[in-house]
């Protein structure tokens, strides 16, 4: 039995920060129902669309990577009927995950105050750029904005040159928040089981990113004159460390316990695989600088991080292994509104007439009403 079997998640999560937190809860056995609407798709459906043919909104690899093992509903949150259905669903859920800009759900009367009045056991995870309080609570950010404002960028870059961000294809701060938020949500579920009371969990993505620089902040507070900044690949306390180009043109990473001025020439004279093997044999930490294609090829290195769904599509696996195992994909990422009727019948007992009325009035849908989001 999985740790979160019997737990249900109302998932408003978008892109990585929110949607992946819910995905990690699904990995642990939770029943995740993802809410989108025809007027507001998860932006991953759009940024990852492979073409403009009909049904493009169901084909984004990024969306499918992140939303496997969830059921998908499309309900218009701006329509009072849509809001009413969500409130009914909230009575049957244990967790809400959302990463809208602050105030969006409150304006639809779907914020923590409204939903906890219906279901006091609800654990409500609000993941936002800056947190739910403070003068910058309404600030927007996108991925690498937070590399900059968290401090990570100030410590990233070539020696003495300008700072660097992880960029569009990584958006590093978005990736790490779910690794932390999921654990906190689980702790809050334990508390809700014990006390009968839920919780409002206010996560600031910027704080999560700065938290990863904890020792730098402690050191800076003790010594404001402390030199920090860009050191290339060097690292305090490490004798010598850098990337070196090998004879085959590939870069390898090498960390040395004692300085060795000849290491660059050593690497330049060998193919990367030979150089890595020779260094490892001497007890030196070394590794090839892999790209995405290398990662796809090296199935041992992948461990449990990638898995294929029933359509053969590659999707995200687990960051950890539970009882030695990864996960299997029971359902691929949902098409827009694929499970609306199924879930409304199952949880709320809606009949054909009620479902038809919601569809006819545009409250539910399976096609977007927008081209770009």
């Amino acid at each position: 039995m999985k740790a979160l079997a019997g737990v249900r998640v109302l998932d408003f999560g978008l892109l990585t920060a929110g949607a992946n937190t819910s995905a990690m809860l699904a990995d642990l056995g939770a029943d995740v129902i993802k809410i989108e609407s025809g007027a507001y798709l998860d932006p991953f459906r759009v940024v990852g669309k492979p073409d403009n043919e009909k049904g493009w909104w169901n084909r984004s690899p990024q969306f499918r990577f992140t939303n496997r093992n969830k059921r998908g509903l499309a309900l218009n949150l701006k329509a009072p009927e849509g809001q009413r259905v969500i409130r009914e669903l909230a009575a049957h859920c244990d967790i809400v995950v959302e990463n809208f800009r602050r105030g969006v759900l409150d304006r639809a009367a779907l914020g923590y105050k409204d939903l906890s009045a219906i279901n006091p056991r609800l654990v409500f995870a609000a993941i936002s750029s800056q947190g739910d309080t403070g003068p910058e609570r309404m600030n927007v950010s996108f991925g690498s904005t937070l590399d900059a404002t968290s401090g990570i960028a100030s410590l990233t870059g070539y020696e003495g040159e300008e700072p660097r961000i992880s960029g569009m294809d990584v958006n590093y701060p978005d990736q790490i928040v779910s690794l932390f938020a999921t654990g906190i949500v689980i702790a809050a579920i334990m508390e809700a089981r014990r006390t009968g009371k839920g919780a409002f969990l206010d996560f600031s993505q910027r704080e999560v990113a700065s938290f990863t620089l904890g020792e730098e902040i402690v050191a800076a507070s003790a010594d404001p004159a402390r030199a920090s900044g860009r050191r290339g690949n060097r690292e305090e306390g490490v004798a010598q460390q850098d990337a070196h180009r090998c004879k085959d043109g590939r870069w390898i990473a090498v960390t040395l316990d004692a300085p060795d001025p000849a290491i660059d020439a050593f690497c330049a004279g060998r193919d990367s695989a030979d150089a890595v093997a020779a260094l490892l044999a001497r007890g030196i930490a070394a590794a090839p600088c892999n790209d995405g294609a290398d990662l796809l090829r090296d199935t041992k290195l992948q461990g449990v991080t990638l898995v294929r769904d029933e359509r053969g599509g590659l999707v995200k696996g687990l960051p950890y292994r539970l009882d030695g195992k990864g996960i299997s994909i029971e359902r691929p990422g949902p098409d827009l509104g694929q499970h609306t009727d199924e879930v409304l019948r199952e949880l709320l007992g809606y009949d054909d007439a009620q479902l038809k009325k919601l569809a006819d009035t545009g409250v539910t849908s399976t096609t977007p009403t927008v081209g770009e989001v």
């Binding site: 979160l4 947190g131 401090g151 300008e162 700072p163 689980i186 334990m190 892999n290 461990g303």
Partner: protein
């Protein structure tokens, strides 16, 4: 009205966790183990850190405080208790076995000599490794830097023609530490519900690939791997009057970004689509860069946010201490240390019903 006991009890207060620090494991694994256990300790779990004779080597790792103590150790070991045990001796191992009988979970690293004992204990094992089990590489030399390279993250930062760059901080270890915390939390929840908790194994190499999933996804979908684009990337760093700003905007935020910069040359149709902007990225940055030169980071952030544009001013760790948002939320808290005086450090990055989790000082090494 909440009862006082509900108010004061911390969420993980009823759990006992042992963190076993073997003397001879790579430091990058220890940082992950200690971070995971620290989060649980700050949340109220009774975390007992078993240190080898001479102490956890992280006590001697940089950065250092002015008194010579390790800031890294202070950050990673808040709210824990410490006990020195010689696990090479039989009495040490017996003492550990006794502690494990009363514990809910035990955190340790794969190469630890005590690992077989810990895997078999009554406490749920949370094991930190460098590499996936499939690689069978428990003794392969490792560093965080090598993990960043293996996981493909190194390939993503820097100029395409120059060497790849690591991200600042201990990102490989800490991403694994956050993962181990979530695994620990899931294990505790299973135990709490009367189930058999799953053994958790976290490898730094798997976590890095998981974090860097767009590399595999991109290579799988498009046939070519994403990689570092440097001066060809859409998002770049530009200098301003008092530092640097990251230029970041989504496709839908382009019109607002164009209006913010206000240069008529941006109306050129070549900039209208994302593909067009990418094709003409050098020209685009020639036009927008001067706008930043005479403005401060604060002015840029305020003006941009007013138009919904997510430009990111770059702050150093020292500057974060003054950040209005962090001060207002009390994120960087003051902690009174019995020997080191007052230290400021980040609290857990969550507020739980408006409550923060104040850390307690890291333990001294018992004489």
């Amino acid at each position: 009205m909440q009862k006082m006991s509900d108010d004061t009890s911390l969420p993980l207060a009823r759990f006992t966790i042992v963190e076993v620090n073997d003397a001879n494991v790579p430091l990058c694994l220890r940082l992950a183990t200690s971070l995971a256990a620290k989060i649980a300790a700050d949340l109220g779990a009774d975390v007992l850190k078993i240190e080898p004779l001479g102490g956890d080597p992280v006590r001697r790792a940089p950065p250092f405080l002015l008194q010579g103590e390790s800031a890294l150790f202070q950050f990673l070991n808040t709210s824990k208790r410490s006990l020195v045990l010689d696990l090479v001796s039989e009495s040490g191992r017996n003492a550990l076995a006794g502690l494990l009988n009363k514990a809910d979970a035990v955190l340790f690293e794969e190469p630890a000599t005590s690992a077989p004992l810990l895997r078999a204990s009554h406490a749920t094992p949370i094991e930190i490794a460098a590499f996936p089990a499939e690689m069978n590489a428990a003794t392969r030399p490792v560093s965080e830097f090598a993990i960043l390279a293996l996981g493909g993250l190194l390939h993503m930062v820097g100029e395409p023609e120059r060497k790849p760059l690591r991200l600042g901080g201990h990102q490989a270890s800490y991403a694994a530490g956050l993962t181990a915390f979530t695994g620990l939390s899931a294990a505790l929840a299973a135990r709490d519900a009367g189930q058999t908790a799953p053994a958790v194994r976290v490898s730094l190499a798997e976590v890095m690939q998981w974090v860097n999933w767009k590399a595999a996804s991109g290579a799988d979908a498009g046939g070519t791997s994403p990689g570092r684009e440097g001066k060809n990337s859409e998002f770049q760093i530009v200098p301003c009057r008092d530092g640097h700003v990251a230029v970041v905007y989504t496709v839908t935020q382009w019109p607002a970004t164009r209006a913010l910069i206000g240069d008529p040359r941006l109306a050129n149709p070549m900039f209208n689509t994302r593909a067009g902007r990418r094709q003409n990225i050098t020209r685009l940055y020639e036009i927008i860069t001067p706008w930043f030169a005479d403005k401060t980071r604060a002015e840029i952030q305020k003006t941009a946010q007013a138009k919904g544009v997510p430009f990111g001013p770059i702050f150093s760790p020292a500057e974060l201490l003054q950040t209005e948002q962090y001060v207002s939320r009390g994120f960087l808290t003051e902690m009174a240390h019995p020997k080191l005086g007052s230290l400021r450090l980040p609290q857990l990055p969550v507020q739980w019903n408006g409550r923060s989790f104040a850390p307690r000082p890291a333990p001294e090494l018992a004489a």
